[in-house]
Symmetry: C2
Subunit: 116 residues, 2 copies
């Protein structure tokens, strides 16, 4: 019987070497290595995080904040390096979601079978 941790490290290595992860890494580094693009991306992430936190805490979001957020989104969508990064993030998230479904299947089978 193979050791679970060895199998997990094999998977980690496979993810790290995958075309999807390497493409994300390249897209991320392209954004990070251009100071003005990096600033735009950081600003976008900060704005998103800030609005999410306000929503979770039930704080009111002003019309001005909504408009500012929309402007920031429009700005990053026009930047091809950031668009590429967001696309690659989406692609890797899909792979990781699939992996997560595969490895939680034993538990799902166990807890599912009695409930029918």
């Amino acid at each position: 019987m193979a050791n679970i941790y060895d199998l997990a490290y094999d998977l980690e290595k496979g993810l790290r070497e995958s075309e999807e992860f390497q493409a994300l890494k390249n897209a991320y580094e392209t954004v990070m290595n251009d100071p003005s693009t990096k600033q735009m991306f950081d600003n976008f992430r900060d704005t998103q995080l800030n609005l999410q936190q306000k929503q979770m805490q039930g704080e009111e979001i002003t019309e001005e904040e909504v408009n500012k957020a929309k402007q920031v989104v429009e700005l990053v969508q026009q930047n091809e390096d950031i668009s590429k990064l967001m696309e690659e993030e989406q692609r890797l998230n899909t792979v990781i979601g699939d992996v997560s479904k595969i490895i939680t299947k034993p538990l799902e089978d166990l807890y599912g079978e009695e409930q029918q």
Copy 2:
């Protein structure tokens, strides 16, 4: 380069065949195969879920409900089959938490390194 999905299925198989998963499966089946123990366990889970939902929706939890929940917990703790099941759930959750940390390490490394 190994295929990510093949590696994920290898890990899934390893988890399914692991001592930890087999022990959880046995503990779960012991509880499920004894109708009075199963009822006690279902009652415990329903009570927990109900209180969690009320908390999340900001509803008030009455003193009567708190006392009832405490009684249900005391009851299941005295049942050795349910205690064993909860112990095995905890043990497998630790393994799955470790696996999750291992396989998300590439992303953590990527997004972590630029933020220092």
